[in-house]
Subunit: 240 residues, 2 copies
Amino acid sequence: MSPTYSVPVTSASDLASFAALIADRTRAAMCLALLDGRAWTAGELAAHTGVAPSTATGHLHRLVTGGLLVELRQGRHRYVRLAGPSVAQLIEDMAGGIAHRPAPARGLRAVTASEALRRGRTCYDHLAGRLGVAVTDAMTRRGLLDQAGGFALTPDGRIWLTAGLGVEAERLRPGRRALVRGCLDWTERRWHLAGVAGAELCRTFLANGWVARVGTGRAVRITPAGTTALDALLDLTDVD
Amino acid sequence: MSPTYSVPVTSASDLASFAALIADRTRAAMCLALLDGRAWTAGELAAHTGVAPSTATGHLHRLVTGGLLVELRQGRHRYVRLAGPSVAQLIEDMAGGIAHRPAPARGLRAVTASEALRRGRTCYDHLAGRLGVAVTDAMTRRGLLDQAGGFALTPDGRIWLTAGLGVEAERLRPGRRALVRGCLDWTERRWHLAGVAGAELCRTFLANGWVARVGTGRAVRITPAGTTALDALLDLTDVD
DNA sequence: GGCTCATTTCGGCCGGCGCCGAACGATCGT
DNA sequence: ACGATCGTTCGGCGCCGGCCGAAATGAGCC
């Protein structure tokens, strides 16, 4: 069967040594920082976690060897990023707690869009925060997404993504990664769209200039162009 | 929002200390053993993991305090089991490696049912092994399950579960737990049905005497009654 | 070449924790 | 009431591994 698993865990000791990668405060902080989906240098991570550069080196070595991170050397810098969406997903699952799929669409009562969109950010490669939740909810209201019993893309949703948003149909074929997947944002305590569709949506929003990154972190803000686009595509009015 | 998360993790040290619960060979072995969904006594787990009873006591205390396990004291016995399906799911995710949703239904080519059903077992609260995979595949072939881009129950599938199998419709309402969910069995390297529907299906099969537990472990075998039932319900013929 | 800066390697320190055995407590069966 | 069984508490041992600082490496930049 396909390639080989990045982290093929079967025995108890394999499972233990895998968990041990996260079971350190400093390494956990590194993983959480890397959830922004971008590549950090070793020095940045050392400063961010408050340890000496030499200590960070050791941690990064373990994380790369363990398959959680991949590295990219450029000149005198060593960039690391999460090895892939599935790693990000797993860390999210662990960080978000044990609760999978809580009360899904219940109480989906519309918060006003202006309030809902005020704080947005990216979560690995998809939209999160109030923005992510608002978009997810709007898609559900429009019948593009089905939240009853796990996330699923409706036929209308597929059309909306391709014809409406311009996502290539090829990218929405089933593959290693789930087409749609819920991701629990633990600041909002609400589900938002992840998976391939979530990533494509985020990519498109950024590419079209509908949302723009704020500063160097994970935060994003909605642009004027984004306001009109969201209105046209999702009836999300009264946007901040 | 609802109760409170069993393991509300937000900071790096919370994440680390949570992962540390699994990051020990003995505790990992305990969790894997408990994946059968049943309650074990402290002594059984001590013997199974090969440590002294006193050592097992310490580990179990940590796992219970950490929210991974719940305990049930009966007389001089202390039974522990996984705290819930979401805990089981998370351990599965970690144990199965990082790869979520690999090539889903691809190569769903029918292995003969007799071969497919030879080795069955339960995985927490649903069917796994060749039996679980065979049932999942058969359901997919019949259009009861949609494996394109994540698992989803089709309208036909819902009817099949309720009218055909006698599962109460009430139980299939969206709740905290996903209605359907794929679970990767790492011996078969194939996806099989988990989530509420998977648990209900397994429960019904056991209740109807279609499968029976073998010995004291996770293994199950199909009964003669099960053979006819699977033929009638899923066209799964040539059963072992 | 010489300087700077990001990163790495090496030693050594120290705390945490997994392990056991022995003694104690609690419960069941007779 | 009595031994047998299951579980827990307590001390003590030993090792793994995270931390740092100092020195070494290697890539850019004059």
